[in-house]
């Protein structure tokens, strides 16, 4: 326990790095997958290949991506860019399906009304389709955020892993405490992130909170 007190700076440093490495890919992934998903609903032949590709990419073990990407990008292995690119790829791979499913979940009659009212295509997507797609997209967002937070620590194998470095530290010194601290903080981070996302989702979908009217008015 004294270890914790002695190493607060280290812990904090790793936590910050961890957060950075986990959140940036989520944001980048979202920025990429939403327009991409929209295009896939516009040109529906794209949808299935994209989802399939995403499936394949997501099945690749993270450590493999952390190593293969430097080879492709020409960056050094020990660079945070690799981690971020790899996790962004994962994020897009998973989210693309949710974005497509979410946009497709907009009822046809809602879409028709929007068109009839006079919404231009892009405006309609932003004002009507996306808000309705939020629940489905957020389901994926929650999964991918938690998964990213968990995967960052794998980077410790090649030397950059946020809280994961506490794991390797503990292992090298045959000392359980740093490992437990790392695991607990990682779990807490995931929990907090999930709670924030749920709150954000509720904020973005006020209509979902209102209970159905009770009884009928004669």
């Amino acid at each position: 326990m004294s270890w914790i007190a002695d190493n607060v700076a280290l812990i904090w440093e790793q936590l910050r790095e961890h957060l950075y490495l986990a959140i940036i890919p989520v944001i980048l992934g979202l920025i990429i997958s939403v327009p991409l998903g929209y295009v896939a609903t516009r040109y529906s032949w794209l949808a299935n290949p994209l989802i399939a590709l995403g499936g394949v990419l997501y099945s690749l073990p993270s450590i493999a991506l952390f190593i293969v990407i430097p080879a492709v990008l020409g960056t050094k292995v020990l660079s945070t860019v690799n981690i971020i690119v790899a996790l962004t790829i994962y994020t897009v791979a998973l989210l693309i399906r949710n974005v497509i499913d979410g946009l497709r979940s907009v009822p046809a009659d809602v879409r028709q009304s929007a068109v009839a009212v006079g919404y231009g295509a892009l405006h309609r997507v932003i004002a009507i389709d996306l808000p309705i797609a939020v629940p489905v997209i957020f389901t994926g967002l929650r999964v991918v955020t938690v998964a990213n937070i968990s995967m960052v620590s794998v980077g410790a194998v090649i030397g950059i892993g946020g809280l994961g470095e506490l794991f390797t530290l503990g292992f090298q010194k045959d000392f359980l405490t740093p490992v437990v601290v790392g695991v607990v903080l990682s779990l807490l981070l995931a929990l907090v992130a999930d709670v924030i996302l749920v709150a954000l989702q509720r904020l973005l979908t006020p209509w979902a909170r209102v209970a159905a009217p009770v009884g009928e008015v004669a």
Binding site: G55, V56, S59, L60, P61, S62, I63, A64, L65, F66, I67, V68, A71, V77, V143, V146, A147, I149, S150, S153, V154, A156, V157, I158, G159, G161, L163, G164, F167, T168, G170, F171, D174, F175, L176, V179, V180, G182, V183, S186, L187, A190, L191
Partner: protein, 216 residues
């Protein structure tokens, strides 16, 4: 970059590429088998009786947040050993939740009207499970096994850090020696293995899942 992979010397012998591949596959299936043997019956039971659903759902979600490397380290430090045993424990712990959650989701998701019809026409509880619930739940059960396999293959790779064999050895050893071609070999092979296993499950799914469930 491709030097290590293409050097035929590296393919032979006890520490050669073939050997490592076989090791890795063995670790994966051992852990998967163990996890499935435990998680499938529990998932089936919870899905059929609907008791304990809380556990099945939340375990699945919570486990996704577990950092696999951390779990490995804890297992190693607690058992005070390195080698396969702690790794197996960690892999098992990572494999159970997805199988349990998906199996539960699959079985409990069977249309209650279908089960009512089955009961009403005189099927015993066991017959309902084997002839109705499991076949209909099969797509989800297989997807749970698939997820678990992915997690296990991935974690078995990084287990090389705790002296395990398998394809992770190339990554870890290569890192130590600053031998990038070796690292790349490990990464590439693991990626290919993962894709291969994923395709295998897809094929199994196609063969075993009834056509009637794929419509619409």
């Amino acid at each position: 970059m491709w030097q290590y992979l293409t050097d035929s010397y590296n393919w032979s012998g006890n520490e050669g590429i073939w050997a490592r591949i076989v090791e890795h596959v063995w670790y994966t299936f051992a852990a998967l088998g163990l996890a499935a043997v435990v998680a499938l019956p529990i998932g089936l039971r919870i899905g059929h009786t609907r008791r304990g659903a809380f556990l099945a759902i939340n375990l699945g979600n919570a486990a996704r947040a577990l950092p696999s490397l951390g779990l490995l380290m804890i297992a190693v430090l607690l058992t005070d050993q390195i080698g396969f045993l702690p790794v197996l424990i960690a892999l098992f712990a990572l494999g159970v939740p997805p199988i349990l959650a998906s199996t539960y989701a699959g079985v409990s998701g069977v249309d209650p009207a279908t089960i009512d019809a089955a009961r009403g026409m005189g099927m015993t509880g066991r017959e309902i499970l084997t002839k109705v619930e499991i076949p209909i739940a099969l797509p989800l059960i297989i997807s749970g096994l698939r997820s678990a396999t992915l997690q296990i293959v991935s974690t078995a790779t990084i287990a090389a850090l705790v002296s395990l064999g398998g394809l992770g050895r190339y990554v870890v050893d290569g890192l130590k020696l600053r031998d990038f071609p070796q690292m790349f070999t490990g990464a590439l092979l693991v990626a290919l293995l993962a894709i291969l296993l994923d395709v295998l499950f897809a094929v199994i799914g196609r063969i075993t899942v009834s056509e009637g469930l794929k419509i619409g």
